[in-house]
Symmetry: C2
Subunit: 125 residues, 2 copies
């Protein structure tokens, strides 16, 4: 069974509070603000356990190390900001992508990633 330690509490809070996909490094830095002595290995282990529990799901973007976000938010895709590098969710997606594949190929699923500038980076520039 899973124990609720101070470490796991601050990690869980980081995901709940920030509400966006976080890398281990981002979660680690957020956790360090509340618990400076926390180690990275602890964050890796806690996050992997949360994925096994089904509380987090991995979010893989091209060329980036895996991020994680709260499970159960339904079909959606991701936006990555070219300014700050952060990742955001967005809903909606164009239907019928299957027809784009080459003849004879079967499409089961898809991924869409948008790149640009998030609202904050647009305002700041």
């Amino acid at each position: 069974m899973q124990r609720m330690t101070r470490q796991r509490e601050v990690i869980r809070d980081a995901f709940e509070r920030l509400g966006q996909p976080l890398s281990v490094q981002e979660a680690f830095e957020a956790a360090q603000e509340d618990l400076p002595q926390i180690g990275v290995a602890t964050v890796y282990r806690a996050i992997n356990d949360m994925v096994d529990d089904g509380w987090l799901v991995p979010v893989d973007l091209p060329g980036e190390s895996t991020r994680y976000e709260r499970a159960g938010i339904g079909h959606h895709h991701h936006f990555q900001c070219n300014g700050c590098g952060r990742v955001f969710d967005f809903e909606g997606c164009p239907g019928d992508l299957g027809r784009l594949a080459p003849d004879g190929f079967e499409v089961d699923s898809h991924e869409i990633i948008l790149y640009g500038r998030c609202a904050r980076c647009v305002t700041d520039s």
Copy 2:
């Protein structure tokens, strides 16, 4: 200036012959068939030089190490086979993805990845 060695020749040939995005490992294995004593470091260096020369471009897919393909084939996206893991190009893409982003966000570019089974894996199963 760039010299044409036997090593770089077999690496270049692998990309021309196979005509699909190749990881360093895939290019290394293809090169080894013609030149068994070739080292991985050579393949890494040759590929990085070919990217610098503009002859190859990186192809990053979620959760995968970088692949590379011939530059200059125009706007396209990638299909990854869940059976054999290989990556294929496809043309066409749904217009106007920008409207999907959250309010206040600016979209500059996008990536679409389709997953499923390639023609060969569909036939084999």
